[in-house]
């Protein structure tokens, strides 16, 4: 007979209850998110490819027509057609090069040449690109298609796209009824009779909810990797990913204006994927802590779920919140997940950064846990 502490027993029981109660929902969500999400990405990727091919074919046809017209024309009209042909041929070359796999060595050579002839102020993007190709070369990657998806990219990038909203809703759904449903169902009394340790009961519920949502996210990451590999191939885990681009919003300019400065870092894709997953897990952890607090404060599953769902969608209404949006934990979600800081441009809040996002998220988490624990001791069951 094995003997365990009351904390372990509570945690074990909570996991058992969550699994028995929510296994079906989790399985359906997993299939929807991973298979559905991968299929949507695959489909949009295929559509983009088809559109690109059609555009190239159209431009090739246009270039051929121009050649034919130039042969038959003369004078000023011919000169105009030649100018138009040059533009179209350049566009066609660009389109074709985007579609094709690039030779890393020749790309490095081309970028170095371009950097020699471009002014210092506009060298940022080229330097960033050059650093990426140099990193690939140092890891033995000889060719690279920037538009090609692979298993690694899909697994990592999913934590910076709308799938995060589904994870967020799932996190709220899992935690929001942990206490309220026990109060409503009358089972909390029985639980406290066998384990009159209110703080430990609360913490066990929190940890069990975190375990399930984090386990689900990790499983989803593996699922996306497998599905991505099946659809697009595995690819290289060493492909560099640019992070740390500082985005500023110019005063008085539209939110989309971005001024990257050269403070970027390169991370191999596997490292980027893991860090994205970790940041997304932190963000979901905050939501779980908040949802559990709402669950104990309201003692009503319906109200807790409504408030939780409103919290999740509040990110979309951040433009109405003004300065206070900076303290909306959900506004921080895309920032947390897309730590390249490109997402900051979507919100008109100055000083948005990974650090500030982490601070907001940790503040909310700590406050939610403290309030939840305080109220757990006073709750009349």
């Amino acid at each position: 007979m094995s003997r365990h502490s009351i904390g372990w027993a509570l945690y074990h029981n909570e996991l058992e209850k969550l699994w028995a109660h929510r296994a079906r929902v989790l399985l359906i969500a997993f299939i929807l998110i991973v298979l559905g999400g991968s299929f949507i990405v695959y489909n949009s990727h295929q559509s983009a490819k088809t559109m690109q091919r059609q555009t190239i074919a159209m431009m090739q046809s246009q270039v051929a027509t121009l050649h034919h017209q130039i042969k038959q024309s003369s004078g000023t009209h011919k000169a105009m057609l030649v100018t138009e042909l040059k533009g179209d041929e350049q566009g066609l070359r660009q389109m074709t090069s985007q579609h094709n796999t690039l030779n890393v060595a020749s790309q490095i050579k081309m970028l170095k040449t371009e950097l020699k002839h471009s002014p210092l102020a506009s060298q940022g993007p080229d330097r960033e690109e050059l650093a990426q190709y140099q990193s690939m070369a140092s890891h033995g990657i000889r060719s690279y298609n920037p538009n090609a998806e692979n298993g690694f990219r899909l697994a990592g990038q999913v934590f910076s796209n709308p799938a995060m909203m589904v994870f967020a809703l799932l996190a709220v759904g899992l935690a929001a009824d942990r206490i309220s449903s026990e109060v409503e169902g009358g089972t909390l009394g029985g639980l406290l009779l066998h384990a009159p340790y209110r703080l430990k009961v609360y913490l066990a519920k929190l940890l069990a909810s975190l375990t399930v949502i984090w386990g689900f996210m990790a499983a989803a990451a593996v699922g996306f990797f497998i599905a991505g590999s099946a659809f697009f191939g595995i690819g290289s885990a060493q492909v560099p990913h640019v992070v740390g681009i500082r985005v500023n919003i110019l005063p008085g300019s539209p939110a989309q204006v971005q001024v990257p400065v050269q403070t970027f870092h390169l991370l191999p894709q596997w490292s980027y994927d893991l860090l994205s997953l970790a940041l997304a897990m932190i963000a979901m952890g905050a939501l779980v802590a908040i949802a559990l607090m709402i669950s104990i404060l309201t003692r009503s599953t319906v109200i807790a779920l409504i408030i939780g769902a409103l919290l999740v969608v509040s990110g979309a209404l951040s433009h109405l919140l003004g300065f206070f949006a900076a303290w909306d934990p959900v506004v921080q979600l895309p920032l947390m997940a897309d730590w390249t800081r490109k997402a900051t441009a979507q919100f008109s809040i100055h000083g948005f950064s990974l650090e500030s996002g982490l601070m907001v998220v940790f503040t909310w988490t700590a406050a939610a846990i403290v309030v939840g624990l305080w109220y757990a001791q006073r709750l009349d069951v």
Partner: protein
């Protein structure tokens, strides 16, 4: 068997309510109640619906916080140190609730795990068999009948050789056989020193079990009666000539209360006085038809207590 006496040693107090009050949004549900329950006794806790029984029991089990006052279990304040106070306390509180999406076996295993008890297949099977739920062990509790749930609640309440049992309507949904088994089990537990605080609407069951009664109504304790000491020295006498018997009592200044069936109920100083009384009556030529120790019908006591409270309440309101 541990016998309760009025001069019970203080160390034998297992449950103590000390001027406990509970208010909900200004409404006083329990008002300064004080009583004690002693080791090994079965204490009936009686009152109509809404009297404050369940609220009191939930406060006793640490589920509700009293607005004022103090509740001690095994000498420890429940609301200061619940784990110590409630160690060895088994309970059934009102309607038994379980996780409907778990099976009976899973519900039991969860409780066993929390009590750090044996969760092997054999241990679980034995416990379920004891309450007649072995066949239904794998079924989800949401498919259980009220009686099955109540039997599972009993299994959980008796998990850990309890020192104290707090039972709120434990016989709800039990069939007569199960009720009898439960009654015998409770008596066995009481004889082995387990203290029982029992709230039930089935007065006949309480009457067969309880050694002491605490009556509550409108949040007030309206009476505490020790069924052994208070009733042991009462006698019931019925003679062929009731009027002559009444006069016999009057001339000797013996307080006797006429009953509806022509008999008399009277208090004796000691139980041994019963034999002496019968001898004197026979000596004076009374034809005794019935003479026995008197035990007041619980239903009548209950109705009397509640009627008094209702009258007092009406007077206060007037």
């Amino acid at each position: 068997m541990h016998n309760y006496t009025k001069d019970q040693d203080k160390s034998d107090v297992m449950i103590k309510f000390d001027r406990v009050t509970k208010k909900y949004r200004g409404l006083t549900v329990v008002d300064h109640i004080s009583f004690e329950v002693y080791r090994g006794e079965i204490c009936g806790f009686l009152g109509p619906n809404g009297a404050g029984k369940t609220t009191s029991l939930r406060m006793l089990l640490g589920l509700l916080r009293p607005t004022s006052g103090r509740i001690e279990v095994q000498g420890t304040d429940v609301h200061r140190n619940a784990p110590a106070a409630l160690d060895g306390v088994g309970a059934i509180v009102e309607e038994s609730r379980f996780y409907p999406y778990l099976s009976g076996e899973q519900n039991l295993r969860q409780a066993l795990r929390l009590r750090n008890l044996d969760i092997t297949e054999t241990a679980i099977e034995e416990r379920l068999e004891a309450v007649g739920l072995k066949e239904a062990r794998s079924r989800r509790v949401k498919g259980y009948s009220l009686g099955m749930r109540q039997r599972l609640a009993l299994a959980l309440a008796l998990l850990q050789d309890p020192v104290i049992l707090v039972l709120d309507e434990p016989m709800n949904g039990l069939d007569p056989t199960a009720m009898r088994e439960f009654r015998l089990h409770l008596l066995q537990l009481s004889q082995s020193g387990v203290t029982v605080l029992l709230s039930s609407h089935i007065l006949s069951e309480v009457e067969q079990l309880a050694t002491r009664l605490v009556f509550i109504n409108h949040g007030h304790i309206v009476g505490i009666e020790d069924l052994r000491t208070d009733q042991a020295a009462q006698a019931y006498i019925r003679c062929a000539e009731p009027k002559r018997l009444g006069a016999w009592f009057d001339t000797r200044n013996i307080e006797a209360e006429a009953t509806e069936d022509g008999g008399y109920r009277l208090h004796l100083e000691r139980t041994e006085d019963m034999a002496s009384l019968i001898r004197r009556l026979v000596h004076d030529g009374m034809d005794i038809l019935e003479a026995r120790p008197y035990k007041e019908n619980l239903e009548r006591q209950y109705m009397d207590r509640m009627a008094i409270t209702e009258k007092e309440t009406q007077n206060v309101e007037a």
